[in-house]
Symmetry: D2
Subunit: 436 residues, 4 copies
């Protein structure tokens, strides 16, 4: 386990990125290739069967890593070891390993298999997060709190309205991930320069793609499809970062409207025994500060030279893996954050009164605008607000002579269309699987 | 005109990002809002009519710019000026300007209108580029050249195969832009904190969206949709950069297979009268080195605080505009690059012989593998290649005793499935409008 | 004036980046080159004199911009126009314009002249900011406030301690800028491939560098020196962003310890007449979200091909200018922010009591640790804090039986070494000009 | 060992970033703190002695990693384990562990200790690289080759001139790293909010800093010093990338002037037995595409909230480590690249003739300019060049009637001041240790 695995990453997803899983995906590629070639009578069926039964655990991973330094990619020493393993069983079959394929075919397709498994796991995690956010939204549909813009108290909303915004972003992410998987899960099989050859025919591609649950495109390689996938994860990370940042701001001592769930030893400070620091949200925000620049590297890697790059392609390997691992961590942490979130609706009500009614200025202005016009009402209310501030009075008092309805100063009457928006998003959540 | 407008940007698209056009889009927002509110009897129809006839050219843009320093966004002084203009015509109507809307509604919707016009123009430009690339591909379907990987000669392809790869990226970009426009062109109308109010109802939103040719979502604002749009443009820029880089590499004095079209004064050096420098491709590559990091800024701007950010939102404004302007430039330059591209098929044939047959090693190996198995054939051919190099002989000679068919050493027989791939991509190009 | 010039940029620095100033710097290069060459008898003194009197205002900048599209850089059409202008005066002299120099010599040296003027202006602005921060620090040396970590109240500091931290960053920036100017202000004069020639000798370089107030290095061009300059500005922008973010957080309605100065029309909201939004700090934070990625582009531009890049060099031009313009804006806005900053020391005292003494837990713990040991004291105080929270009592009450000195609960006694640190930084500020 | 350690990283530097080394650095902090506090009679000397003899290997690192998830940083569980270990030996001493310090003190100082060891190792590696490049430069001081700008043949240089440019960048990097270490190696010791306390006095800081070989500053923490260090490494990475890119371009089949050293199994292709792919340079270029964006993350992490950030600080941890590990890899690979570089001076001479004398156009032009003036000579030579191209003649032939000296067409006479520049850089290399 890496030093920071439990903090920035999702320990239960790490196996997808393990050395063993990489080798497993490599092996799946070679087996599917042989099988597809056998189905087209390009290689003997017996050879494909032998290849299909190779004992992947016999691959010496440490040797692979050492050989990488000279080979420049993992495919070359892997194919060498695989061929050698098969030769032990069946000398003839070993002649048909990796036939007509090139290193990038193997490596990029294995990455697709990794993405596929990761995408499945990510969607499951996001569905959990979706359900948690939907429940939280439903629970706090009518819990008034202040809406804040530019870090200033603005107008009332409900806490459910805020969480519905977070939920909407998760719904969007799920849609994008599903769309994205359709576009990124593409068999790479082009041979030396991407143009195929007699062993790597259109038919072999189709058979092999079906076997691996991938799609085919005409051209062999990228066009930035891995970068597109990285972009989707980058947007998701940003939205999780938004949720975490909102929570951190609401957790501030002076605001105190929500709090990360407490646990023994959680969020303690080594020097301040009383503190309950944000911990889970902190990890999400840290990841959100790292992922956009990793996405930039993926975009920078698109302009590859000729039929295969000497460096840009290689810069994608660890970067894409890093993005996926960090995003898995952010989603995992988001689940932990929401499942344990403590909400103090009393404090929300208390904070709504901190401006002594100034947050109702817009409602009042709209009310007065009906008779005075918007500009005049704006000016009038602005003066009233200044007076309220100067005299430290409640806005209601200052405007006493306008005989305004008291209900204008009740938060639940000042939440605009919050409830309709909440309901729409919750409905979208229910329908999300039916939607395209 | 900015100092570098003719080099990095597309002069014919710059008007979309002009001060005047920004004000025009702002005005369209306010007119559509008033119209929608009138249709719902929220404001008088007369007022909407007066607002609809405002003379936008009377807006004092220089004053706007000066006021921005205090207001913090352009919407506030714009609404002030607009209201004042309308007040001159009709005092009553002026009360109904911008009713219930907030600055971000205006600014972000205006950005959507800008994106819409830009997207239309971009698709048109890309269609021109598509047609040029398709014609180039068709012309050079059978022009053999060497395929290169890791900057080394690898195996033959045709030039049409290479350009088909560029074409495929453009087809993908068009699809993504169409999809992206569906997702990004969303009316922003949420009022102060995004929750709407009595003037900004669901019905007003729908009417107004229809009027402006935009869509509605439940929540008012982002969830990173502008960042998603930036990502699409980032991938496109990368793929144009790939094309430009290929061309620059092929233009090298020692390769000389293609050349940017010449024009009087083009690509001249101030000290080397003989040089014909790449100019057009240079601009595309420069842009491709800038755009990914601008996209990163858009992604970094997603985690906005509460209901509106104090800074991250603002960092999007110029950044998104810059991305669009640069991408327009890259597409414009790509058209110029392809329309004038000079292709030297003789030189391509000449270069194919530079390795004295070594590039046919794979074909030979595959041929020998039929009888020797892949591993043995690999080893055998590797030795033959070394001998050819050491003795400075043609591979054909070294392998003379294998009595290989001469056709194995003809480039057109060594291009794998290049033609089928070309034909598929050209067919996709034809069908592209029918496709989803 | 650009649309956002008064918001993100410093209007009083914009002239440094104007078209006219670029041409002015270009002209200074050519005049200094001719003068240096004349001093070495490489060209006639008369020619140098004629070149030295060229009327730069006659350069047709619009034509330059148009020609750029074909020339690929501004130097080529500029030299053409300049030569033509001089030819009108003195046909013979025109033969000696730009002799032996190349476009990159001209462009990159002109950038150095721009950086030099900018650096001077930036240091002046930073000195103003330094004095303002020093005055603010001195004024609030003894104004207690809560220190916050991880957005939670932690332990008392003084406001002067916080501002001293901001000041320290400005002192560091000034040192770095001075060091950086020493390293970046280097005459570029290498001729076609950087190796010089008979017109561009070591002696010419030395004369010309002296004339322009630049240094020489052995090699002609980059090694990333512009990127180094960008990095220095990137760090400065980050530190200004830190100051702006602190202020925004302290301005929150619920915290209200400081406020941006008010002005008519400043920070108003179009829908909430009572709001006083952060405006100045918002611009600084927006810039801080953009600059790091522009710096990344400068770093990405370092690995240039051979003796001059076809694209990476070009990507530096607008990027470096943009970084300087944005940083000038951030410094300008920081001055405006600090000069008008309103500080509410009463509210600071009020907020210090919000945790009912919990912020003194460390002081108490340290006091108790003297007798109980750190671990036991930590545990004991942790329990006391929990009890205080559960029973909603002041920590003082809960610990009543420990008979602690009341002074332990006075903020000014809990500020650690704040004052010594403040004094040291203020002293460093005074000595800053003497320091290297 | 990580999957890609032998490719992107320097296996012999990895131990600096191992879990064990992190714990070792943590322990050094605590021992030095106790020792410094004992020297000031703040804690008993006996306690400091006991702490100084703690058996660090007893720390349960796996438990640390697990606890991180709740604690949010490694310092908290580390201090807990350390205290517990010491309690086993001496209950009294355990009360004085980590007294007055905070997590960031421990973590950031440990990072400084890591940087210190890394900087030392990096400088050693760079010195090796410097010597290799100096030797290569000396060897090829007089080996003519073509200089290339914008990927076009321009004018002759020598290979030693090119490598002197690489060497100059290494000299610069060494200077910067030494300067950078002076600025980054700063003891962090501020206690809870950075203001110190009775256990963390100025005197304790000074003693402890001396013990650890670090410096002190007035303020406790960042001001972006880690980001500055990252920037220095970013520039170095760019310059190594430039060297690697030059080599890759020179290795192209059609250029073939240099080649990575061959080794059994190195650079082989899985499908093209004849290929000798760049491998070592590929890793350097891949790293150069990743590091700038990691630097951007470090810059983005500067604007930290209040006295300690909840997320930005955390985003630095793995990012800074990653930058150092990748840079160590790039330097290691650069050494391997240069030590084995094969240079084909014959091919360089051959390539110099590819333009049939056009590369001497500038020399000719300068010669003619003596009599005709620059503009006329430029025009005349331009026409001659066009004629040479059209008639496929050598420029010498076309200009026969000008009776130019044949020596004008010898490369060694057209290298400008290459040799003087080489000699200056080699001299700087010798003097580098004396220079500031």
């Amino acid at each position: 386990m890496g030093l920071f695995d439990t903090f920035f990453y999702a320990p239960d997803s790490e196996f997808l990125f393990s050395d063993e899983q990489v080798i497993e995906n490599f092996t799946r590629f070679e087996i599917a290739l042989a099988k597809a070639q056998a189905s087209q009578s390009i290689i003997p069926l017996e050879a494909a069967n032998v290849i299909g039964q190779v004992e992947v655990s016999l691959i010496d991973i440490e040797k692979l890593k050492n050989d990488l330094s000279l080979s420049g990619n993992l495919a070359i020493p892997f194919v060498k070891q695989l061929t050698s393993l098969i030769k032990h069983t069946d000398h003839e079959a070993s002649k048909f390993v990796h036939l007509g394929a090139t290193s990038q075919d193997l490596i990029d397709t294995a990455t697709c298999l990794q993405i596929k498994a990761f995408g499945h796991l990510l969607l499951n995690k996001l569905t959990i997060l979706e359900h948690l956010l939907k429940a939280l939204t439903t629970k706090h549909r009518l819990s008034p709190m202040i809406g804040r813009t530019l870090l200033q108290q603005a107008k009332p909303i409900t806490f459910g309205f805020k969480t519905a915004g977070w939920l909407e972003a998760i719904l969007l992410a799920k849609t994008r991930i599903k769309q994205g998987l359709q576009e990124v899960l593409i068999l790479k099989l082009g041979g030396a320069v991407g143009a195929g050859n007699q062993f790597v025919t259109e038919q072999v591609k189709l058979e092999m793609a079906t076997e691996l649950g991938l799609k085919c495109t005409a051209g062999a390689w990228t066009q930035g499809r891995f970068a597109e996938w990285a972009c989707i994860l980058g947007v998701l990370s940003g939205n999780l970062g938004k949720m975490a940042k909102d929570i951190q701001l609401l957790m501030q001592t002076e605001v105190a409207e929500v709090s990360e769930g407490s646990a023994i030893g959680k969020g303690g400070s080594s020097t301040m025994p009383h503190k309950r620091n944000p911990v889970t949200s902190t990890a999400i925000i840290a990841n959100a500060n790292r992922i956009p620049n990793l996405v930039a590297t993926m975009l920078m890697a698109i302009p590859q030279e000729h039929e295969r790059s000497a460096g840009l392609w290689h810069s994608e390997w660890e970067t894409l893996t890093q993005i996926m691992r960090l995003v898995a961590g952010s989603v995992e942490k988001s689940i932990a954050l929401i499942v344990d979130l403590e909400v103090d609706t009393q404090r929300m009500l208390f904070n709504l009164e901190q401006t002594k009614g100034l947050i109702y200025a817009e409602s009042v202005m709209f009310e007065l605008a009906k008779t005075m016009g918007k500009a005049a009402a704006h000016e009038y209310v602005e003066k009233a607000c200044q007076m309220a501030i100067q005299q430290d009075k409640h806005l209601k008092e200052v405007l006493a002579d306008k005989k305004l309805d008291n209900a204008l100063f009740e938060p639940i009457n000042a939440i605009g269309n919050s409830l309709a928006i909440i309901d729409q998003i919750c409905k979208d959540s229910g329908n999300e699987f039916e939607k395209k």
